[in-house]
């Protein structure tokens, strides 16, 4: 078997490679808008409803174009039915599930007919269920390239309208930038990109490529234009790698979907770990601040006395003091170094300044300000400190009549 890089050039494999890569990129980019608008399940309906169309198209014309035209018409019918049903009192998810099952059932009925009329067409039919990208040829590239580039171009050209429509429909209508045609444009793009991907990804897993790259892109950035780019890149990457894996005789759809899901899970876990790490770092910093403050105020002899002041487990304290000692804030016998003393002074100063501010300027009761100051002493920046000093005219004492150190 060849190397992944060679896929782009190999005369037999370049067709499937470029085809899969392009359609996956387009599908993933449309998926970003779909997941912002919570319409990914409509993509699922389109892909399942396209199946009877594929069967009919293959029955009539026996080539890819026929299958795609049939699929397009059938998916359009399903979308119209959804529109009609959603105006009745049916729940939206019931309507989706109803149409999905109905159209797919029709597809299976038609496929069972094909099975006996054209036995060799059955292989082609089942290949649309899970995708069979290696059966594409060079002639397919052009078709898929046109479709994918068309979809991506439309996304770029109408980006402003799509963005506004995705987030604020009222504003979109008022500013004249959107309205009905943007919705039609989005549905059209969804339709075209799902249909184009049926050969590569398959009926059953096309919606995976709508969801997974969009989820991954959302974890990497929070701007819509960057999300589109990221999703398209991830989609292309998954298409390429999934196709490479499918050379070992597995259907390409599940592999492409699995790659996309793995990328999405990876980014999700990265986000989770980042959040945990940030939280842990902040907690460690608070602990260090509290220890320095306690040493500055009460000069504890040993860890037990320190624990009485700061709280927390003995092991946590041992690790935290070890860390402080290594960074040079405290000496071996729990005494502050010069740097440590300076930092402890600053924390106490911030604590008492904040208490003075809450009592003098906000008008809170003296008894209530301590808990808030316990939290704020870790957060206040030098700029806030300078402003507080200016506002309070550089006070010498806090509301509890303790001196404010400088």
């Amino acid at each position: 078997v060849t190397t992944p890089w060679n896929l782009f050039l190999d005369p037999l494999l370049r067709g499937p490679t470029w085809g899969t890569l392009l359609v996956c990129a387009a599908l993933a980019a449309v998926g970003v808008i779909a997941s912002v608008r919570r319409r990914t399940q409509v993509g699922e309906l389109i892909s399942h409803a396209a199946y009877p169309g594929v069967v009919l198209g293959l029955l009539i014309s026996a080539n890819l174009l026929g299958a795609m035209v049939g699929a397009g018409l059938m998916a359009l019918l399903a979308l119209l039915a959804l529109e009609r049903l959603s105006r009745s009192s049916l729940y939206p998810d019931s309507a989706l599930a109803l149409l999905l099952a109905l159209f797919f059932g029709g597809g299976i009925l038609l496929a069972s007919r094909v099975q006996f009329v054209q036995p060799n067409a059955v292989r082609q039919l089942t290949s649309y269920l899970f995708g069979q990208a290696p059966s594409m040829t060079d002639s397919h590239i052009l078709l898929y390239a046109i479709l994918a580039v068309g979809v991506l171009t439309a996304l770029i050209v109408c980006f402003k309208e799509l963005q506004l429509w995705s987030f604020d429909q009222t504003q979109a209508r008022l500013s004249g930038l959107g309205g009905r045609w943007v919705e039609l444009l989005f549905t059209g793009l969804l339709l075209v990109s799902v249909l184009a991907s049926l050969k590569a990804v398959g009926v059953v897993l096309a919606s995976a490529m709508l969801v997974a790259p969009a989820v991954a892109a959302r974890q990497l950035t929070d701007q819509l234009n960057r999300m589109l780019v990221w999703a398209a890149l991830i989609g292309a990457l998954c298409g390429w790698l999934g196709l490479y894996a499918s050379l070992w005789g597995l259907p390409s759809g599940p592999l492409v979907a699995l790659m996309a899901v793995l990328v999405a899970m990876g980014t999700l876990l990265r986000g989770l770990l980042l959040r945990h790490w940030r939280r842990g770092r902040f907690q460690r910093q608070c602990m260090a601040d509290n220890i320095l403050k306690a040493i500055w105020r009460t000069h504890p002899e040993n860890l037990q006395q320190l624990q009485g002041r700061v709280g927390g487990g003995l092991l946590t304290l041992r690790i935290a003091t070890w860390r402080l000692r290594r960074q040079g804030w405290i000496g071996a016998d729990l005494s502050l170094s010069d740097d440590g003393a300076q930092r402890a002074t600053r924390i106490v100063r911030l604590h008492r300044l904040w208490e003075a501010y809450l009592v003098n300027s906000v008008g809170m009761d003296v008894e209530q300000v301590h808990p808030s100051a316990e939290e704020m002493e870790h957060i206040l920046t030098p700029e806030v400190e300078a402003t507080l000093v200016q506002l309070l005219r550089d006070p010498l004492h806090d509301p509890h009549n303790q001196p404010i150190p400088r």
């Binding site: 399940q41 099952a101 797919f104 299976i108 919606s207 699995l258 899901v261």
Partner: protein, 310 residues
């Protein structure tokens, strides 16, 4: 004994005759086994699907009916059989529910993204694992399409056990489901845990799907779950009545589907998929009922208008 090549009405007549002979199971014809399996699945579908519809979980059920492939992998690994299937259903149901919950709570994904991601992950892994384990690339296709003509008496026994178990669960937790579906606050006050009941419902969907995958395939399970309760809800409103009517509708549609597929084979030499026919007939029932209800409403409105103007 086989029905051979019977046209529509003769099939029904013969079936009616044989129904009252109360034959033992080993003398049942293939068609009768098919029909019995479909009727039992219809009962399961009505029982579980009614809750899905009123709790607006139809698309979650769609995802679960796909992710059941993981359950099939588990069943295959432990060596099949009824207990293998039950274990598989349990694993698939809990995994799907747990992953969706985890995605939406811990990772803060929106509900439809969470469902979509779970569905894609488990289904793709399921197809790949089944293909690798069984060295048979058609098994995935079979699981999606169903293989109704390969059913035998053992399958019927399995489906019967699964249906019995499902109905038992459904009856035991009827009140809990009812209260948590319509009044979450009351359910909490009375001590029903909505999240556990939700998980139990998912396990029941998984049970139904795994019972049905051989007969109708995983995608059409959704039809059995959603279409009959929706049709029944057009006529009746009490939940017990919806379940009963839905089961009746499924049974009637199953009978028609089996008879019709035999008829097409005999009269037109047209072998049609029984499960595909079943779904279309169920859909037809729904849309005919919808139209009938609309006509009735229009008639009543015009009647009232007529009375008022007079």
């Amino acid at each position: 004994m086989s029905y051979g090549e019977q046209p529509f009405w003769e099939f029904l007549a013969l079936w009616g005759q044989r129904l009252f002979q109360f034959l033992p199971l080993d003398q049942w014809a293939l068609d009768e086994i098919q029909l019995a399996v479909l009727v039992l699945l219809g009962c399961c579908g009505a029982m579980v699907g009614s809750w899905l519809v009123v709790r607006r979980l139809a698309m979650v059920a769609n995802a679960l009916s796909h992710t059941i492939l993981i359950g099939l992998v588990v069943a295959f690994l432990v060596g099949g059989g009824l207990w293998g299937l039950l274990l598989g259903a349990l694993v698939a149901g809990l995994l799907t529910g747990g992953m969706t919950d985890w995605f939406s709570r811990a990772l803060r994904l929106s509900e439809d993204s969470a469902i979509g991601l779970t569905y894609s992950a488990l289904f793709s892994i399921g197809v790949i694992a089944l293909t690798l384990l069984t060295k048979n690339s058609h098994l995935g296709t079979e699981a999606v399409m169903g293989q109704i003509d390969a059913l035998d008496a053992d399958d019927l026994r399995q489906v019967a056990w699964i249906t019995g178990f499902n109905c038992l669960l459904g009856l035991l937790f009827y009140r809990g489901y009812l209260i948590s579906a319509f009044d979450g606050a009351l359910a909490r006050t009375l001590g029903f845990s909505s999240s556990w009941l939700g998980r139990l419902l998912m396990a029941q969907v998984a049970l139904t799907s795994i019972g049905a995958f051989r007969a109708v395939g995983v995608v059409l399970v959704v039809a059995l779950l959603v279409l009959p309760p929706l049709t029944a809800r057009l006529y009746v409103h009490r939940l017990g009545a919806v379940m009963g009517l839905a089961a009746g509708i499924s049974a009637l549609a199953s009978l028609l589907a089996v008879a019709l597929s035999r008829h097409c084979l005999t009269a037109y030499q047209l072998p049609l998929s029984t499960s595909g026919l079943l779904v279309l007939i169920l859909g037809l029932f729904y849309f005919i009922s919808l139209a009938a209800i609309k006509v009735r409403i229009r008639y009543r409105v015009s009647h009232v208008a007529h009375c008022v103007t007079r």
